[in-house]
Symmetry: C2
Subunit: 141 residues, 2 copies
Amino acid sequence: MTAGAGARAFTIGEVSALTGLTTHTPRFYEQEGLFFAPVRRDAAGRRLFTDEEVEWLRVCTKLRSSGMPLPDIRRYAQLVLAGPGNEEERLAVLREHEERVRQQVADLQDALAVIHDKVEVYLGHLAAGTADRLWTDGPEC
Amino acid sequence: MTAGAGARAFTIGEVSALTGLTTHTPRFYEQEGLFFAPVRRDAAGRRLFTDEEVEWLRVCTKLRSSGMPLPDIRRYAQLVLAGPGNEEERLAVLREHEERVRQQVADLQDALAVIHDKVEVYLGHLAAGTADRLWTDGPEC
DNA sequence: CTACGACCTCGAGTCGACTCGAAGTCAAGC
DNA sequence: GCTTGACTTCGAGTCGACTCGAGGTCGTAG
């Protein structure tokens, strides 16, 4: 009843088109154990991805782009693979990463302040026509 | 009157202590041309950093932590080295990076939304005692 | 029946920014 | 005068996450 005809299967090429990843990446991810289970294959040994796997790849992309290391993603996948009962642990993995991302945002905004400060200095001097004083005024370069 | 006794000079060890960088990093940065000029040396060939150079290292740290590649920092340094007259170009370098950082922040917040969503899903199921439905409900793992 | 394109595995290469270590020089303290 | 420790240069190694390419297999279209 669950594994019926409704479940679409995608070739790796389709997955690539759907996610914007190269075909190498989902293969690499499978090898790294980032999926909840080995990816299904057709008779010829070609991978067949489910909707859920495609969606998971999209999530992985977000996790990666926010700096989650592959080992952490793998750990989460293994918890899911292990079945119900470890939801608190999965939650902990997610929350730790969430916190790291918030910290990253804070750090970036900190850096942004420094950068924008310098931009303002230049804008000020350029507007006032005193740009050459940037040299002698001190550390304003 | 400018290069008088008031200008402090720091050894690389002091710079390391002041900035939190290892001694390798300022050396590496000099080699990569990130300073506005070659670093001054004492009679024995040891580097002597000025206040301004220490401050610049701090700025570099922010630029790096916000993802500015060394070649871009080098380009900025070369503009400063080239002297007055190119302030618009320096400003452009800074503004481009500023924009990239803003984009990074936006991307991180986008990822954060996805991550936080999953956190909420787990919190909801755990609170409701329906955590085991995570399995069968669909792509909520 | 053959060509084609999409897929497979495996291992090696790439990238940027450090990071480390070896081997040597130098100055100050004892 | 010798040790100690901070400095010097140089070249090699590290890290993670891809990324690429060679060489091979398959199934479908013509």
